[in-house]
Symmetry: C3
Amino acid sequence: MAGDLALLAAVSLISALQQGRFARLVGKSRMKHKVLPPAVTGAPEFERTFRAQQNCAEFYPTFQTLLWIAGLFCNQELASLLGLLYMYARHKYFHGYAESASRRLMGFYLSLIVLACLAILGAAGIVNSFMDEYLGFNIGKKLPKMF
Amino acid sequence: MAGDLALLAAVSLISALQQGRFARLVGKSRMKHKVLPPAVTGAPEFERTFRAQQNCAEFYPTFQTLLWIAGLFCNQELASLLGLLYMYARHKYFHGYAESASRRLMGFYLSLIVLACLAILGAAGIVNSFMDEYLGFNIGKKLPKMF
Amino acid sequence: MAGDLALLAAVSLISALQQGRFARLVGKSRMKHKVLPPAVTGAPEFERTFRAQQNCAEFYPTFQTLLWIAGLFCNQELASLLGLLYMYARHKYFHGYAESASRRLMGFYLSLIVLACLAILGAAGIVNSFMDEYLGFNIGKKLPKMF
């Protein structure tokens, strides 16, 4: 079973490492600006870096959920690609936010678009799965015959 | 494989959208009370809304873990129903907390009860799975014969 | 399918309960130091306890992701063992941090080492899975023959 999901798992693993990287950069920013734990306020740059990481961490379980549902129920390759795009968006968001609050927006909006796409893929896959089970109608199997 | 889990995935997907909705409501509250990122303090109503969303986000991975384990190892339909109930509890919690700190409690306690139920279902399913593997005794298969 | 993953699920379930325990200890610390929600600042001991729990919650999805990928793609027993070790590290971290900021370090570093081990296991399993699929070469199947 696991073998069929290797692509999804690879993307998921890399995204976990990205989360670790964000956490490490917050630690570095702590040292640079001398913000000792448990304080989370201090230099504005540290506060922005910290909020950026917090926001990424908050959204991470939502991203993982949508990634795996889209990949399992719709299309693994497409979901994995969107997963990579999400990581790129979060990369832009994090480093943009660290520079200034307004520079976080582009990455943030892109990340939301990717999440919406993953949700649509996942929802389509689930609806198809229900139709297949209860109505015996599977659009995924019929599509190839149409072309 | 994915088809058997469509119900669980549907609940999981909706819960991910709920998380996104909570985050959006915090954004709206930011604008209403003019709390500019990265600040997380300001008007009491904003602070309550922010804490409500933070608490939901913190508990979300725990919920997902328990939901899927209960669904996979015990009963998908029951776990999915509890998942919907959890979302209802979190809805009450979030909107109650936004109004006043004391009005968060009902939803919060309900969410804890649901999590406890999911944990019990999951634990029962795992114990049954171990007994089946090591002792050849599966209560899930024996139950139908008793009635 | 679920039966093969009972060990991983058991570790995952216990880790979810640990997260719940950390959240409850923050609640107790709130009452002890009279920090009323939504405030998150007050007595230094409360602030440390709160930050400890926040950090555990932030890292939890990353841990879960790495645990399941390592377990599914490489070795369930080894991943489960590392999962237990992670929980021990987080236990030390949380209770150390509640006492003083410097006492959080040992548990924290141990938790990072465990995450790194899980990531390496997971990555090795995924690479092997790709090689098996595209090159027909599976080191996991060849290893037993070597000895």
